[in-house]
């Protein structure tokens, strides 16, 4: 039972990371109509920067702040140099162009940091567990991830719904030409939105670095799961991304934890051990398939376009 | 039930706060050319969308030759004999004129799960296509790429492809949109020649054409029918004059 609660919390935590990625992707797609496969690269870069700066400064927090700034700079650079030229083009062009960027970034990281990956140790204050329910202890840092991403989600909501910039973002999403015609500097808006997406991705990469991984190619693995979240939640819907991210996070984590045992009730030990991992990895895709059968446009599909 | 080729009852469609179709009911008997007119935003295109099967009505029913087609997808309605032309030209731009029309013929010439024979060499597809083009005086343009045609020719090809499906009901969405006086006159003649063989529902802004062609006219304003009858009756209708015809009539008078 304790194990179940722990896995559920882990699932929520994974879900929050997925939400950050999905939200960034949704914003960029919604405003600029850009399919950005290289979003995962920004996630990876955020993690690498955090590990590097934390090691350099000896402080986790300082490293984190510097990493966010550095990721923002990289994001803006990428937007100005490459992404700008892709706006308005065929989605296939986006796919190919950003695919090229992924290869470039993975290899660049390998060149600079080497193939072995890195670690980002937690500051000692974080190394405790908190009693979330009577008798149930959960690592403090994982709670921090959940809480901090919730705060970011809230800030994002406030930004998009309550500020002038947010209004421009929402307007731009439904009618680009109109916003441009109103004299708003669309170029700047796009750069800002891309930068925001980059920071969200970098933040996610950085937060998960101490407990999961900092290695080449980490971006693409989670990016594809972020796509699954978007498909389930409905393209263009941040609310949908939030709900779907939690669901996907839960199903993946809890499924992987309990499916082998569940199988053991029906199959032999051997069969369960070999089929377990393979089947567990299929769970979220089966969910996606089910949604596609019942509601192809996703749970909370946005109107328009 | 009736001799009506097309029967619509209580068609209602809402987009968010906008009531695009408000309880529309009408019947079009065989061989009639029925015109739908109304100011912009009256819901004419939404009406065609629901009749063609692209927009699902919130409530109401549509019968085609006494068959309830309300839930049928657009391709099925086409197979049953209901063809439409588009307001904004939407042809296959990388194909020739003949290819475009032949495709329409192909859609109604059995199935297309045929993988070996060259479709462009099938006389059973090319000949009927040529016949339709000839009927509209376009045979000379058969091998021209659609993307190189003039706007007026595009509108005519729209009609041609609709005709090539062998329909019994034609839904024409502003076929004369963007045409000059000569081209319009030619289109009116084309449509007049088609009358009788086919039942036609025509959405148009060009009032000269409408009064020259229509057997009956229905006036749509804000999604509702405010009047329906013979051209004379409509011309004399006070409400219609105020809502719509006013400006045009004073120009002619």
């Amino acid at each position: 039972m304790l194990y179940f609660i722990e896995q559920c919390l882990n699932g929520v935590q994974l879900g929050m990371l997925l939400f950050l990625l999905a939200a960034g992707l949704t914003l960029i797609f919604g405003i600029m109509d850009l399919v950005n496969l290289a979003h995962g690269s920004l996630y990876m870069i955020g993690a690498y920067f955090a590990a590097t700066f934390a090691a350099l400064t000896g402080s986790f927090v300082a490293g984190a702040v510097m990493a966010l700034l550095a990721t923002l700079v990289v994001g803006i650079a990428v937007e100005v140099i490459a992404m700008r030229r892709l706006y308005g083009r065929d989605h296939l062009d986006h796919v190919l162009g950003t695919f090229g960027l992924i290869l470039f970034f993975n290899e660049l990281v390998r060149l600079i940091w080497g193939p072995a990956g890195m670690t980002l140790p937690l500051p000692s204050q974080m190394l405790t567990a908190v009693e979330v329910l009577p008798g149930v202890y959960y690592p403090l840092y994982r709670l921090v991830i959940i809480l901090s991403t919730l705060i970011v989600a809230l800030l994002l909501y406030l930004l998009v719904m309550r500020t002038r910039i947010g209004m421009l973002i929402r307007a731009g999403a439904s009618n680009r030409e109109m916003v441009a015609a109103l004299g708003i500097n669309i170029k700047l808006l796009f750069t800002l939105v891309f930068g925001l997406g980059a920071v969200l991705a970098g933040f996610a990469g950085m937060m998960q670095a101490p407990i999961l991984t900092v290695q080449i190619g980490m971006g693409e693995n989670i990016l594809i799961v972020a796509f699954v979240v978007i498909i389930i939640g409905g393209i263009g819907s941040i609310r949908g991304a939030f709900v779907a991210a939690i669901i996907v996070g839960l199903i993946d984590t809890v499924g992987r934890a309990f499916l082998p045992d569940l199988l053991r009730m029906f199959l032999s030990n051997n069969a369960a051990s070999s089929a377990g991992p393979a089947l567990s990895s299929m769970l979220i895709y089966m969910l996606m398939a089910a949604i596609l059968v019942v509601r192809p446009e996703g749970l909370f599909s946005a109107s328009s376009r | 039930m009736t001799d009506a080729v097309l029967q619509v009852e209580g068609l209602t469609k809402r987009f968010g706060g906008v009531l695009a179709s408000d309880g529309i009911s009408l019947a079009v008997p065989r061989g009639e050319l029925h015109a739908i007119i109304g100011p912009n935003g009256a819901g004419k295109t939404t009406l065609i969308g629901q009749l063609a099967g692209e927009v699902a009505p919130d409530s109401g029913r549509i019968w085609f030759e006494n068959l309830d087609i309300t839930r049928l997808p657009s391709w099925r309605r086409s197979k049953l004999g209901l063809a439409r032309s588009f307001q904004i030209t939407s042809l296959f731009s990388d194909f020739t004129v003949l290819d475009n029309v032949a495709l329409a013929v192909q859609a109604h010439a059995g199935h297309s799960f045929q993988f070996w024979r060259k479709a462009r060499e099938e006389t059973s597809l090319r000949e009927p296509a040529r016949a339709v083009l000839a009927r509209l005086g376009l045979l000379g343009r058969a091998d021209v790429l659609v993307s190189t045609l003039s706007h007026g020719e595009h509108r005519q090809i729209e009609i041609a492809t609709a005709l090539a499906t062998g329909p019994r009901l034609l839904l024409l969405d502003e076929p004369m949109a963007g045409m000059g006086p000569d081209e319009s006159a030619r289109m009116v003649k084309t449509l007049r020649d088609l009358k009788g063989d086919l039942t036609i529902m025509l959405i148009e802004h060009d009032m000269e054409a409408v009064f020259a062609l229509a057997d009956r006219i229905t006036v749509l304003v804000y999604g509702r029918i405010i009047a329906s009858g013979t051209p004379q009756a409509i011309r004399g209708n006070e409400q219609v004059r105020q809502a719509y015809l006013g400006e045009q009539e004073s120009a002619d008078a």
Partner: protein, 314 residues
């Protein structure tokens, strides 16, 4: 579509003729590296050509086509491991498995379009990738060696490199010929029309979904055949066959070679694989160069090699 002597056709003819002579070169010089490389190019060209059927002609951008390379290869590998190495059993089963997966994925993905379609096809292939990693018995992440190539009795000895080379070349020609006929047939017209203007196709009476689905299955099955050949060529199967970057490579080959033609992807495969060979000889970090090259191709050479060749008046 007049089939006169366009520059592209000449180039492809020359290339294929040159390839046909490779075994001679290998026999004369005793160096079979070129022949091996070309076998790989031919196999991946077949995969790219099959992708182009749905992508270039059908407008369905699938970022998951590598799945069929994997399925074809894994069926051969799994059956070989379980003691079935008759090609007469392996190959039809591999094709059937590819067709089934394509049917399942296609029936779901084709209910969507555009970006959704790209992401869904990517996701399903990724699922397969992870499943393969989870298959401990068949090598898991490391992959598995195939000790005996598909056996065809006295008919054909696939372990003879020259025979295998000509088999691959023949199957590539067969595939391109088949796709060429399909593209110009009634079926092909529906697919191309649906790409050009799906709304119009439905308006004139075509139930486009079922045609697109059949096309998707055909493309998947042909790519499954390429997967069978790939497994035999490398004597090895591993999950990387289905890695999403492999799907991306196939797209690049099709775009680079020119999506509007049947043979274009052959040139694309040749160009990409030769480029990779050359670059990896120059530097270990060759992807730093090739990544931006993809971006540049997208920005400046969208018609692909075909487009560039087309500008040379014959």
């Amino acid at each position: 579509m007049k089939a006169q002597f366009r520059p592209r056709d000449v180039v492809v003819a020359v290339v294929l003729a040159g390839m046909a002579l490779l075994p001679l070169h290998a026999a004369l010089t005793g160096n079979s590296f070129l022949m091996s490389l070309c076998t790989r190019i031919i196999i991946l060209a077949m995969a790219a050509v099959s992708l182009n059927l749905i992508m270039g002609f059908g407008g369905m951008v699938s970022f998951g086509h590598a799945a069929y390379l994997g399925i074809g290869g894994y069926v051969v590998g799994i059956l070989a491991k379980e003691g079935v190495d008759s090609g007469f059993l392996q190959w039809p089963l591999a094709l059937a498995a590819s067709a089934l997966f394509a049917l399942a994925v296609g029936s779901l993905s084709l209910r969507t379009r555009g970006v959704y379609f790209i992401m869904i096809t990517l996701a399903f292939t990724q699922m397969l990738y992870y499943v393969a990693i989870g298959l401990d018995r068949y090598g898991g992440d490391d992959g598995m060696t195939i000790y005996r190539r598909s056996q065809f009795g006295g008919l054909l000895d696939l372990s003879n490199r020259t025979a295998f080379f000509y088999l691959c070349l023949a199957l590539l020609l067969l595939t391109t010929c088949l796709i060429w006929r399909i593209v110009n047939s009634r079926f092909g017209m529906v697919i191309r029309g649906a790409r050009s203007n799906e709304r119009r196709m439905r308006a004139i009476g075509f139930p486009t979904y079922r045609y697109k689905l059949v096309c998707f299955v055909i493309a998947g099955t042909l790519c499954g055949l390429a997967g069978v050949l790939l497994a035999n060529h490398t004597d090895f199967i591993n999950p990387a066959m289905m890695h999403w970057t492999r799907s991306g490579d196939l797209i690049v080959m099709a775009v680079l070679g020119g999506m509007g033609t049947v043979l274009g992807p052959v040139l694309g495969a040749l160009a990409l694989l030769v480029l990779e060979e050359v670059l990896s000889g120059v530097t270990e970090y060759w992807q730093i160069i090739i990544g931006p090259i993809f971006l540049l191709v997208v920005l400046f050479a969208r018609g692909g090699i075909d487009g560039l060749l087309g500008r040379i008046r014959a």
